[in-house]
Amino acid sequence: MLLLLYGITLLLSLPVTLSLFGAINTETERSLAPLNLLNGFDYTVFSDFMNRHDGAIWPLLRAGWYSVLVYLITAIWTTGGVLNSFATGYRAVSFWQAGTYYFGRNARLFGVTLLFAIPLLVVAILIGSLLVIAVEDTLTERGIALIGFAVLAIFGLLLTLLLCVANYARVMLFRTDDAVAFRAFGIAGRFVLTNLRATFGPYLLIIAVGSALFGLYFLLEALLPTRNWFLILLLTLVQQAFIFGQIILKVWALRVAFEQVKR
């Protein structure tokens, strides 16, 4: 199942990536200059390239966004399959069937999540801005920055809590075979808040592991200079392992919720 999820990510990303590879190769017109980009970064080469060839690159970057949107829809679909696999074990046919069966309610739940997440973002920006305006004449730059960080941290924590509730709501929808996303979100919210340590705790831990993995990745990237094809491929393998790790974490979070609700 994990390989399937990873395969979908890769499959949706590869076409636009290969197109980009081809476009860069064509647009550099056999120049020697891009070789300066191999070991590090060269602003002159990069900016000259983007200045003259952005017309070939931007459409591909936009296509990348469309791939992300397609993946989002696919991820809504796979959620049902993943939950079904927790209950009955992974079988391709039942994964497909469960994904299709739960797609509608998971899509509605996504809508409900956005319904809470977007106002939260707006409120955070509003409160942050108002706070900064209110104190900018009295506080120092450091004070203003700390207020900004505090607002950001509170927003991040609330958003994580919201996503945790949404995670449990997905499990609720599956286990109770309920189709009303709002109701499931409400039940999940109460469940998470009454079992905060057992529910939000592991969720935060998983997010922290994901962040630590990111730190590890940047460390590895710094240690791996991409001087030639071999090193480029080696870094690509590291990158893909990291993506696979992220998929594991996402499934793990859902599994934890599944087990908590079962208990």
Binding site: T9, I24, P34
Partner: protein, 661 residues
């Protein structure tokens, strides 16, 4: 005379010798400049009303062969009196991203002359003054004042004027004014223009050069001495042009600080209660010693070393590559973020930098601004060009040296040409390459010349044409004539024109003198003519664009080979071609770069692996350096690297958003 008596005589004379040899020893100092406009100013700052009350005595000498019948003065602060001044009309009430909040009347500023008399004759000249608009027909601009003299001033004569003035400082958005309790006081006193006799800077007839204050223009003034007394509340920490000579507390809770600055073209000062003073010293290898005074915001105090190191790097570089900094002090003001409109500005011996709390070391903005503003001590102050008419002579030259210093100054900065501006999370930008990018990546790099009155340059392109394009063509000139000759050009130009008012022709004459002397007829540019007028016609006075392209490589079946280079732009410059063959041999060829296309037949029988036009990037103005080279079998690894990165971040975005579903 025996040795012993000579020694004692020397001891007796020693203090006098010291006084005479020091350029800043008050009245005994030997003038470094013509000292045409000399000011004694006594001013009081009211921090509540943001007003200045001042009296000044101007001693002005007519160094021209003309009889001068009127004087012209800048009243710069009147640019901020309302939205109808030329400055406000041109700028729209904003400068460099900082905007004037015009909803509050207290944010505007003005200056008013309340008394004006000729000390020698006792005549009151105030009644005869009138505002004039030499640049446009804007009847609501009050930044230039004409003062008719009842008796003409003959050549060599001096006039002494006693003046009183009041000024209201604007809220800072364009260099000068107040922001909360921070004051940066620049362009604040009635300042006489420059009288240019016939022949000076290409003038046909003598006359005043005293322009209105424009949105993008800076200033132009004669050298002189300044003895300034500043009265401010006692809690204020003050910094100013020149050296402080006295500080006296007053009974009314104020203090009076006296400053002296000789052989300068302006005087600016700052006052703020929340300031941490950091002192340092730069000692040059030739024995020159400069006191460094940093006026830091307390929460930026941990960045004082960054500022000091940048300043020392700039002092060392200029001292070695251009000429000696002749003043004893340089003061750097670090304005608060709420007064960022005052950041990044230059006055004699006094510059403003700019930073913010928590700025990482990889973002080298404090260093960059410090190096840049210090550079103006050379290209604005020591070489006092006319920044209204030829801003490129200051800003462009300074931008070029900012790039050189940031990219290659070595310790204590030690950056490289690839990361001297930004080095954060793998993203790197050098200084000079940023200047080039600012010009080369314009929608239309041929939009206009660097040369011209700044208010008449194509709208919205002042920075690109004045700073970026000039720095880029100076680097191109360096590429063509070589670093050694370029340094000789700059040193000659500096020595010849310091404490004077150079113009474009001053610099061109030096280039046309040094280059043929040093390079003769042996360098590729000699094919264009006996001097470098062809170069300046294209890069300075013209709007031509440079773009050479390595179009094609042929490896023929009979073992011969050829390379074609195309000239895509309309600029013509001599260019080199480097060719590498499969045997590992590299050969250099030359082309005058004039024709639209040129075929190079490669002698010998070997296959070309790659060819590179202008391999050393001498033609830095070339707007696309990537198309200068071509390989027969290019590596696709760079494309692989960026495709891999793209794949990774695309998948990451997918995974991040997947937490929502």
């Amino acid at each position: 005379m025996n040795l012993r008596s000579s020694f004692f005589r020397l001891l007796l004379w020693w203090p006098f010798i010291l006084v005479l040899s020091s350029p800043f020893s008050g009245a005994f100092a030997l003038p470094l400049s013509p000292r045409i406009a000399n000011y004694t100013i006594d001013v009081r700052l009211n921090t509540d009303t943001k007003r200045l009350d001042g009296r000044q005595t101007l001693t002005w000498r007519n160094t021209s062969p003309d009889v001068v019948t009127e004087l012209h003065f800048h009243l710069y602060l009147n640019a901020f009196r309302d939205k109808k001044s030329t400055f406000m009309r041109e700028s729209g009430g904003q400068l460099r991203g900082d905007e004037l909040d015009d909803s509050k009347p207290e944010n505007f500023g003005w200056t008013r002359l309340t008394a004006l008399s000729n000390r020698q004759t006792g005549e009151n000249l105030l009644a005869g003054v009138q505002f004039i608009r030499p640049d446009d027909a804007n009847a609501t601009d009050y930044t230039v004042l004409r003062v008719p003299l009842k008796q003409g001033l003959k050549p060599g004569e001096t006039v002494v004027l006693d003046m009183a003035f009041q000024a209201k400082l604007p809220r800072i958005f364009a260099r000068t004014g107040f922001s909360r309790d921070f004051f940066l006081v620049g362009q604040w006193f009635p300042k006489i223009g420059v009288y240019e006799p016939a022949g000076m800077r290409g003038r046909a007839t003598g006359g005043w050069n005293c322009h209105q204050f424009h949105a993008h223009s800076e200033f132009y003034a004669d050298y002189g001495t300044y003895a300034v007394s500043l009265t401010v509340p006692q809690k204020m920490v003050v910094g100013a042009t020149g050296q402080r000579t006295a500080e006296t507390p007053n009974r009314d809770g104020t203090k009076t600080l006296r400053y002296r600055a000789d052989d300068v073209i302006d005087f600016a000062w700052t006052a703020a209660p929340q300031t941490q003073v950091v002192n340092d010293v730069w000692q040059g290898k030739t024995g020159n010693r400069v006191q460094i005074q940093l006026l830091m915001q307390p929460e930026h105090a941990n960045q004082a070393t960054r500022h000091a190191n940048a300043l020392k790097a700039a002092l060392t570089y200029f001292d070695k590559q251009v000429g000696t900094y002749p003043y004893p002090i340089i003061t750097v003001v670090d304005p608060p973020v709420h007064a960022s409109g005052a950041a990044g500005m230059e006055y004699p011996m006094f510059i403003t930098a700019g930073t913010s709390w928590g700025l990482p070391n990889g973002a080298r903005f404090p260093e960059l601004v410090t190096v840049h503003e210090f550079g103006h001590q050379y290209f604005m102050q020591l070489l006092a060009s006319n920044e209204f008419e030829e801003a490129w002579l200051d800003e462009g030259f300074n931008q070029y040296y900012e790039g050189r210093i940031m990219d290659e100054a070595g310790p204590p900065l030690g950056y490289s040409a690839r990361n001297s501006q930004i080095d954060l999370w793998g993203f790197r930008m050098g200084d000079l390459e940023t200047s080039r990018s600012g010009y080369a990546h314009l929608d239309n790099p041929g939009i206009g010349p660097s040369y011209g009155n700044v208010w008449q340059l194509p709208n919205g392109y002042y920075g690109e044409l004045t700073y970026s394009k000039t720095a880029t063509w100076l680097r191109t000139l360096e590429g063509l004539v070589g670093r050694r000759v370029m340094d000789e050009i700059m040193q000659t130009y500096f020595l010849r024109w310091r404490f004077r008012h150079p113009n474009a022709q001053s610099f061109i004459n030096v280039v046309n003198e040094v280059v043929p002397q040093r390079l003769g007829q042996t360098w590729p540019g000699a094919a264009y003519g006996p001097n470098l007028n062809w170069f300046f016609d294209q890069v300075l006075f013209g709007d031509r664009v440079c773009d050479y392209k390595l179009a094609r490589i042929w490896n023929y079946a009979d073992g011969t080979a050829a390379v074609r280079v195309d000239r895509l732009g309309d600029m013509q410059l001599p260019i080199e071609l480097l060719v590498r063959t499969s045997t590992g041999r590299e050969q250099t060829f030359y082309w005058d770069g004039k024709a639209k296309t040129h075929m190079f037949s490669i002698p010998g029988k070997s296959r070309i692996v790659w060819a590179h036009a202008d391999p050393k990037q001498k033609l830095y103005m070339d707007i696309d350096l990537n198309n200068n080279s071509r390989a027969v079998s290019p590596s696709s690894a760079p494309a692989g690297k960026y495709a891999g990165k793209f794949l990774f971040w695309l998948q990451n975005t997918m995974q991040w958003l997947a937490w929502l579903v």
